[in-house]
Amino acid sequence: MVLPQDIKQYIEAGLPCERVEVSGDGHHFEAIIVSHLFAGKSRVAQHQLVYQALGDRMRQEIHALSMRTLTPEQWAALGGH
């Protein structure tokens, strides 16, 4: 079974990012990803970067992943929560 920390590791290994938080029950996961690479990109392009980092795992191991992508500035504006 895939654990939230596995997904966190997969994302961190494939995408330079400032922060990754993943929670979930092994079937459905929720992730918050903060990366400077998201700056100036559309939401679609931001999510594509994360999917790219997950690669084939997205097709095989991970059934459902809900995500929110933020730039460091957006994350700071939210008070870091």
């Binding site: 939401r43 999510h47 999917y51 459902a64």
Partner: protein, 102 residues
């Protein structure tokens, strides 16, 4: 006609197209149900929907078409808008209603 061409024709011949699991009345996945609900809340009661569970070729092809590995997928006027998460964000910010009205 290739799967790519079929999808291309579908998204370009209808203003709003939702690729989903199940039908609007009987969605087979929570994310697809959420997408239908959001469109309804924006006044789109009858989007053109494609049930990927009924069509394995489209199910695979649509992931390649938009370089997007998950279902649902929303297209407005031929443009890929996003999946369930992005739809939720765009709905909450009011942008989705603008996109649909444009």
């Amino acid at each position: 006609m290739s799967v790519h061409d079929i999808i291309d024709q579908q998204v370009k011949s209808h203003p709003v197209v939702l690729y989903m699991k199940g039908s609007p009345d009987f969605p087979q996945c929570g994310f697809s149900a959420n997408a239908v609900k959001i469109l309804k809340a924006c006044g789109v009661d009858a989007p053109f929907t494609v049930d990927v569970l009924q069509n394995p070729d489209i199910r695979q092809g649509i992931k390649e078409y938009a370089n997007w590995p998950t279902i649902p997928q929303l297209y407005i006027k031929g443009e890929f808008v996003g999946g369930s998460d992005i739809m939720t964000e765009l709905y909450q910010s009011g942008e989705l209603k603008q996109l649909l009205a444009a």
